[in-house]
């Protein structure tokens, strides 16, 4: 009893205490909340000092481990301790949309044009990042096409296989990786594809979503018979998952695909249990690095393939939204237009060339130097330099909106020939696949019913998909689950999404 009361009390405590403005931060300090992927930077560290010198203000940054970011965001929303600028990752999720619509965040629609480095550089992405036509933040840019396949190159060569061009090629590779002993140890202890437990919802760029797109299913939402339908309500969706289920049944995929922690995603690949990873293209670089750590002489073991054509030769590529979350300005601490202008000016300065270099590359002449447009690392083993590199890669890069992860101010100079080749290849593939990219026409739209009921709707499809793949439910039951999505409020979501998209123009 005590515990349940305590849990209640905890929930009410975190939602308590709103209304009063808290301590006013002095005008020469700017408070920020952002996700963190490693150890938190020291506020007195070299990089933060350099950033502060550039913007002429003190920075007070709350770094939150990425895994807890959405929780921490929701708790912060309910506190009287909101920062002046805040990275929002779930910018289409009900908690943020509701708060923004209630006026907890500044509506920046039309306000960003004054700031050359904050106004959307790409209008399409700018539109994708809006909520029903309203801009609530500055989008954090990402490459538009990131999906690609990393494959064990040495295994391919050993078995005499070609790089895949179609889904059938990939299936043949997965089959060979499983059955033809690619590691040559005489045991049948390998498999093809490695998929982790996916935390996101439907259409969250998971390997499943990408494969469905290859088979012709819409990416998120798509037009069928003159109106928009969710991607899972198409025959292509079922076909793609039936195809993948065959992989599961044959053991061409890791047996723990429903439970493997995504933090351990690379392990089976590097340890030689699995040979295919379908994820963002930059993962190929990470994998090469890991191979290099285990064997500095022989690490050229990763090949990169782009999106695949389906059996009939038609190709549909899966793009990403082009951004990852936004930087929003809560009204709690930034009360007047003047204060807003001050904050935006600082952000503008931060996102100008000099600022983005600091955020995404570091301090020139200290931890990197320019070499033909590439950022070449300097003195990597120096502990002080290591700190700067960590601060950049694990933390400050998250504050970049103009340049960011995968799109740094200067591309990093590849450490070796295999990595360089992968970078070149990655860019070529991305340009090529962009031509066949299937865009989501409803990215900038959030339906009213979804805001209210999304919480229960969101899990239906991804759960049903996993259960179908693992054989827990049949195809009929999968289709029934799709119907259930409609019955539990999805039909309203679909109707409203159609109306909103029609209203806002395509």
């Amino acid at each position: 009893m005590k515990k349940s009361l305590a849990a209640l009390a905890a929930l009410t405590l975190i939602t308590a205490g709103c209304g009063d403005s808290g301590s006013e931060t002095s005008s020469d300090t700017i408070t920020v909340m952002a996700p963190l992927f490693g150890t938190a930077p020291d506020p007195n560290g070299e990089l933060q000092q350099a950033v502060q010198k550039l913007i002429g203000k003190k920075l007070q940054i709350t770094w939150v481990p990425n895994a807890d970011y959405s929780e921490k965001t929701n708790v912060t929303l309910a506190s009287n301790n909101m920062p002046q600028a805040m990275v929002i990752q779930g910018d289409k999720q009900s908690a943020f949309v509701q708060a923004a619509q209630a006026g907890a965040f500044w509506d920046l629609t039309g306000k960003l044009d004054k700031y050359p480095n904050l106004t959307p550089a790409d209008p399409t992405t700018g539109k994708n990042a809006t909520v029903n036509g309203k801009t609530y933040g500055i989008y954090r840019v990402r490459p538009l096409l990131r999906s690609a396949i990393s494959i064990r190159k040495d295994w391919l060569e050993k078995l005499g296989l070609q790089m895949p061009k179609t889904v059938d090629d990939l299936q043949a590779i997965a089959k060979a990786f499983t059955e033809r002993d690619p590691d040559g140890n005489g045991k049948k202890d390998t498999y093809g594809l490695i998929v982790p437990k996916w935390p996101g919802t439907y259409a969250s760029s998971s390997p499943y979503d990408v494969i469905e797109t290859w088979f012709g299913a819409p990416n998120g939402w798509g037009e069928r018979g003159g109106k928009l339908v969710p991607g899972f309500d198409t025959e292509e969706f079922v076909t793609a998952n039936k195809w993948l289920k065959n992989w599961v049944d044959n053991g061409w995929i890791n047996p723990d695909f429903a439970t493997l922690d995504s933090a351990n995603w690379n392990k089976p690949f590097v340890q030689g249990r699995g040979g295919i990873i379908l994820d963002v293209n930059v993962r190929s670089g990470d994998l090469v690095k890991l191979f290099k750590e285990t064997d500095p002489k022989n690490f050229d073991k990763v090949a990169l393939a782009g999106n695949l054509a389906r059996t009939d030769g038609q190709k549909f590529s899966a793009p990403f939204p082009g951004y990852n979350g936004i930087v929003a300005i809560p009204k709690q601490k930034v009360k007047t237009e003047e204060q807003l202008d001050q904050v935006l000016q600082v952000l503008d300065k931060l996102q100008a060339k000099e600022g983005t270099v600091l955020l995404t590359n570091g301090i020139e002449g200290r931890n990197f130097k320019l070499e033909d447009g590439y950022a070449a690392p300097l003195d990597e083993d120096n502990p002080q330099i290591k700190v700067i590199n960590n601060d950049v890669e694990k933390a400050f890069i998250q504050l970049g909106t103009r340049a960011s992860v995968g799109l740094g101010a200067y591309p990093p100079k590849p450490a070796d020939e295999p990595s360089r080749k992968l970078v070149v290849q990655r860019n070529e593939l991305a340009t090529e696949d962009l031509k066949t990219a299937v865009h989501n026409p409803a990215l900038g739209v959030v339906s009213e019913t979804y805001i209210k009921q999304g919480k229960t709707l969101d899990l239906i499809i991804p759960d049903a998909r996993i259960k179908f793949l693992s054989g827990d439910i049949t195809e009929e039951q999968l289709r029934a689950e799709i119907k259930r999505w409609y019955a539990e409020g999805g039909d309203k979501v679909a109707q409203e999404t159609n109306d909103l998209v029609a209203k806002l123009g395509k």
């Binding site: 349940s4 929930l11 939602t15 209304g19 759960d463």
Partner: protein, 319 residues
């Protein structure tokens, strides 16, 4: 258990005149003073936050605060009771509760009784210390170890079972059918040893003269156990039983959250994880508070119910 510490009556119970009452308070001034911190603790940290429960009856938006968020009456409760989640949550929670009562609750009693029969003191003490250890490991560790042992890809135990049974490797940590057994096994492994403490204390309190008398009357070991030991610890069992009933709907948030996957969610979802998922990760503050409040109310009812039941069976009960 606070009633055990009740001080003996020092003043006549008959209604005293106000003056006498004041005198009585003055006489025990220090005791009352010492009561204050505890009282303050409960008021500040247990009762005051409860005013936040009002958001269960609002469409609470943090930006608007308590005063400006619109009142919606019982909307969230209606949503809960009519929604498709409710029966699933209730069923899962109740089945886990039932399994807890049947398997986890008696385990420490049995272990304590077995330990009590051990002759060698050192042996008894060392076993006791060893079985306490799992209690101090966090659920995160227990869950990771479970995954390591039972994972379909590299799990050691999953491998053994597979070698024995043959066929394709089963993913025990992901399958619906294995979710509940694994939860119960984890609970048994982690909590049984620690749970014996109270029963061992109760066993130590059983008057040895009773055993001597029983032996004189010709009772064997089994008879002694049945007529002396068991009645001796019956109050402890009853009190622990009442407390367990109060916790029936607490399914152990951390443990279940850590063991939930897409595949077993339909049997794993319980009120605790649901409140967390809806409230903290999805930001539906009002709805999740309503769910939590419902759970709290049921918990209070269960405690009163079981207490009443205990009194019916001529036991002292908790209060």
């Amino acid at each position: 258990m606070a009633t055990d510490l009740e001080s003996p009556p020092v003043a006549p119970i008959s209604p005293a005149p106000p003056a006498a009452k004041a005198r009585r308070i003055a006489r025990h001034g220090w005791l009352y003073l010492m009561l204050l911190p505890g009282l303050a603790y409960f008021l500040i940290f247990r009762y005051w936050p409860m005013y936040g429960l009002s958001i269960a009856f609002q469409d609470y938006l943090p930006f608007l605060g308590y005063s400006d968020s619109p009142w919606v009456g019982l909307k969230h409760f209606e949503e809960l009771f009519t929604g498709s989640d409710f029966t699933r949550l209730m069923t899962n929670t109740m089945i886990l509760a039932l399994l807890t009562v049947v398997f986890v609750f008696p385990a420490p009693i049995i272990v304590a009784l077995l330990l009590n029969e051990l002759r060698r003191r050192t042996l008894k003490n060392s076993i006791q210390s060893i079985i306490y250890i799992p209690h101090f490991l966090s659920w995160t560790i227990v869950a990771s170890v479970t995954y390591l042992l039972f994972s379909a890809d590299f799990g050691v135990i999953a491998g053994y079972i597979n070698d024995l049974v043959g066929g394709p490797r089963a993913d025990y940590v992901a399958q619906e059918a294995w979710f509940r057994p694994i939860i119960v096994l984890q609970l048994l492994w982690k909590q049984t040893g620690w749970g014996t403490i109270i029963y061992l204390a109760a066993l130590a309190g059983v008057d040895t003269q009773l055993y001597e008398a029983a032996r004189v009357d010709g009772a064997g070991r089994w008879r002694q156990f049945w007529h002396v030991t068991l009645p001796g610890i019956r109050p402890a069992i009853v009190i622990m039983g009442i407390l367990t009933c109060g916790h029936l709907l607490d399914s152990g948030f951390e443990q279940i959250w850590l063991m939930t996957t897409s595949l077993n969610r339909s049997v794993a979802d319980v009120f605790d994880t649901y409140v967390y998922y809806i409230g903290i990760t999805q930001g539906s503050y009002s709805y999740s508070t309503a769910v939590g409040l419902f759970k709290g109310v049921v918990g209070v009812l269960l405690i009163y119910g079981s207490n009443l039941l205990a009194k019916r069976f001529d036991e002292r009960g908790l209060f």
